[in-house]
C-alpha cells in the first residue's frame, strides 16, 4: 500500500492534488459529479474585498495544448463568500479549503485575508499577487521583490493560518521574488500563475479576447512551470505548491520531483470535470510503476 499523504504547512492532506483557483468555482459544479472529499483540498475562486464582474467577454480563447483566459477575478466579494458560499460549500466538502485572495491595494489584501483567516473551514490562505488579467493590482504586486515582500509582510501581520503566496511566471527572476516572500514570512509559495498571451482573430484582425491579453494555461506551459519550480526549490526552504498544465498522475510525480510538495490542477478541470478524481485514482498505480512507496519522499528528487 503506497502512501499519498503529504503535509502542507503543518496540515496533513490525503493526497497532493488540489484544484486550482478559478477552475473549480466553490466546488458545487463538481460535487454534482463526484464526492469532492477525495481531494487533498481545493483552492476556491479568487476572492476580493468588493464584488467584481470581471472583464467583458470574450474571455476565453483556444491555444495549442491549452487556452487563454481573461476572466478578471469575477467574484461576489469577501462578505458574500463568507455568508453564502462557505456555508454552501460546507454541505459538500468537509475538509479544510484553501482561500484564494486577490487585491488592488495593500489594504485590500489585508482586509480580505483578515476576514477569511477567521473562517474555520479555511486551512490556508493563498495570496494571488500574480493575476495577469486585472489592471492596477493583481500581477503588479508579484513582479517586484519589494512589493511581493510588502504584501506578504502585511498579510502575515493580520493572519494566523499558513500564507501561501501565488507567483507570476511573467518575471525575469522568479527565484528572487520567492526568496523575498520567504524573508517576509511566507509559509509557502504556489506557482505558476498563467503566462500572458494573446490570440488574434484572422477575420476581424483583432485580438480574440476583449481584454486583448489573457493568461495561457494547459499542458503547453508545464515545461515552463517545471523549470521555475526547480529554480525556486533551490532558492527557498519553504514548501512549493507546483502548478501549470498538470493533467495526469505522472505529471504530479514530475512536478514533485522538480520540488513541489503539493500540486494544483487548473485548466484540466475545465476540459474533463473528472480530471482531479481521475488523477487521484491513478496516483497509486503511477507510484507503483515508478517504485515510489511514500510520495513525500520524492519531493525535490530531481535535484
Amino acid at each position: 500500500m503506497v502512501n499519498t499523504k503529504i503535509s502542507l504547512c503543518g496540515i496533513e492532506i490525503d493526497n497532493p492534488v488540489i484544484p486550482a483557483s478559478g477552475t473549480y468555482g466553490f466546488g458545487y459544479e463538481f460535487a454534482e459529479l463526484y464526492d469532492i472529499n477525495c481531494l487533498g483540498t481545493f483552492s476556491f475562486k479568487g476572492t476580493t474585498k468588493d464584488a467584481r464582474f470581471g472583464n467583458p467577454t470574450p474571455r476565453i480563447a483556444e491555444c495549442a495544448s491549452g487556452m487563454l483566459n481573461a476572466v478578471g477575478l469575477q467574484n461576489p466579494g469577501v462578505e458574500k463568500v463568507i455568508s453564502e458560499e462557505l456555508p454552501k460549500l460546507a454541505k459538500v466538502f468537509n475538509k479544510k479549503v484553501m482561500a484564494n485572495v486577490s487585491g488592488f491595494s495593500l489594504e485590500d489584501y489585508v482586509y480580505t485575508c483578515e476576514k477569511l483567516d477567521k473562517q474555520e473551514q479555511v486551512g490556508w490562505l493563498e495570496v494571488n499577487i500574480s493575476c495577469p488579467n486585472v489592471h492596477g493590482g493583481g500581477m503588479s504586486f508579484g513582479t517586484s521583490c519589494e512589493s511581493a515582500y510588502e504584501v506578504t509582510k502585511a498579510v502575515k501581520a493580520v493572519t494566523t493560518k499558513p500564507v501561501i503566496i501565488k507567483l507570476s511566471p511573467n518575471v525575469t527572476d522568479i527565484a528572487s521574488i520567492a526568496a523575498a516572500c520567504e524573508s517576509a514570512g511566507a509559509d509557502a509559495i504556489s506557482m505558476i500563475n498563467t503566462l500572458m498571451g494573446m490570440r488574434i482573430n484572422l477575420k476581424t484582425r483583432k485580438p480574440i479576447i476583449a481584454n486583448k491579453t489573457g493568461g495561457y494555461s494547459g499542458p503547453a506551459i508545464m515545461p515552463v512551470a517545471l523549470r521555475m519550480v526547480y529554480q525556486v526549490y533551490e532558492a527557498v526552504k519553504i514548501p512549493i505548491v507546483g502548478m501549470g498544465g498538470i493533467s495526469t498522475a505522472e505529471d504530479v510525480i514530475e512536478m514533485m520531483l522538480a520540488g513541489a510538495t503539493a500540486v494544483e490542477v487548473g485548466a484540466a478541470n475545465l476540459i474533463d470535470p473528472y480530471a482531479c478524481k481521475n488523477i487521484i485514482d491513478e496516483l497509486p498505480k503511477a507510484m507503483e510503476k515508478y517504485r515510489i512507496n511514500d510520495l513525500k519522499e520524492i519531493i525535490g528528487g530531481a535535484h
Partner: protein, 243 residues
C-alpha cells in the same frame, strides 16, 4: 451534467456549410434549449453545440462549419466515438408558452427550435415557426418542422425563397402568438426583442471555457444579476436581458 461516450450513426451535409450529425448514446437528462460540449482530437477546449433533437437512444446535432472544431466534425464518419458532456445549460421552459407560442430561429439558431417545437406540439400547443436564412442554399429543416405539425414561415435576406427580409418581416404574417422562443445571432435576437410585445425566452451564445459553470468564462450582465451563459443560460428571460 453527464460525461458519456456517443457513437456517430450518420453525419451528412444538409445545406451550405451545415451538417446534421446523429449520435447514439445515453440521452437521459437532455432537454430542449440545452447544449452538449464535445471533446475533439487535437483541440484543447471542448466545442459547445446546441441540441437539435433527441429520443431515448439518439441525439441529433445540426452545426455549421465555422472553425477548426466544426470542420473536424464535418469529416467524421459513422462509427466514430465522441466524448460528450451532456445536459448543459438551463434550456427552454415550456410552462410559460401559452397556447400559441412562436419560435424564431436564425441560421444555426434554427436547430434548438426543433426540439422545443416538438415538445410544445406534444403538449398540444399551436406552434408557429419563423426560420430565417440568408439565401436558398442555406435553408434546412423546413420540411422537418412541417412534418411535426408546425406552421412554418421561411425568410431569406435575398428573397430567393419565402418572405424577403429578416425574421421580423414575417411577424405580420404569423398573426396572433402568445410567447416567443428564439435563438440566432445577437443582432437578430435584439430585433425580435424590439419587434415583439409578448414575453419570451432568448438563447445566447458566448465563447466558453468549461461549459458547466466552473470557469466564469462566459458571464454576462442581466437585470437579475450576473449570469453564466453556460450554466444559468444559454436561455434568458426577455425581461432580464440587458443589450
Amino acid at each position: 451534467m453527464k460525461q458519456t461516450v456517443f457513437e456517430i450513426i450518420s453525419n451528412k451535409k444538409i445545406a451550405k456549410d451545415v451538417y446534421e450529425m446523429v449520435l447514439m448514446g445515453d440521452t437521459q437528462g437532455i432537454a430542449p434549449g440545452q447544449f452538449v460540449n464535445i471533446k475533439l482530437e487535437g483541440l484543447y477546449l471542448r466545442r459547445p453545440i446546441s441540441v437539435c433533437d433527441y429520443d431515448e437512444k439518439t441525439l441529433t446535432l445540426v452545426y455549421k462549419v465555422v472553425g477548426k472544431g466544426t470542420e473536424q466534425m464535418s469529416t467524421m464518419s459513422k462509427g466514430v466515438k465522441l466524448d460528450l458532456l451532456t445536459g448543459l445549460g438551463n434550456g427552454y421552459d415550456s410552462a410559460k408558452s401559452g397556447e400559441m407560442p412562436l419560435l424564431i430561429g436564425g441560421g444555426v439558431g434554427v436547430p434548438p427550435m426543433y426540439a422545443q417545437a416538438k415538445k410544445l406540439i406534444f403538449e398540444g400547443k399551436t406552434v408557429s415557426v419563423i426560420l430565417g436564412f440568408n439565401a436558398s442554399d442555406e435553408i434546412f429543416y423546413e420540411e422537418e418542422f412541417k412534418k411535426i405539425g408546425a406552421r412554418v414561415f421561411v425568410t431569406t435576406v435575398d428573397g430567393s425563397v419565402g418572405i424577403k427580409g429578416f425574421v421580423t418581416d414575417a411577424l405580420s404574417e404569423v398573426g396572433e402568438y402568445s410567447y416567443v422562443y428564439t435563438c440566432g445571432p445577437e443582432v437578430m435576437l435584439k430585433a425580435v426583442y424590439n419587434a415583439t410585445v409578448v414575453s419570451g425566452q432568448y438563447s445566447f451564445e458566448e465563447r466558453m471555457g468549461c461549459g458547466f459553470g466552473a470557469c466564469m468564462g462566459c458571464t454576462c450582465k442581466t437585470k437579475y444579476g450576473n449570469k453564466r451563459i453556460c450554466k444559468d443560460g444559454p436561455v434568458l428571460e426577455k425581461e432580464e436581458i440587458i443589450w
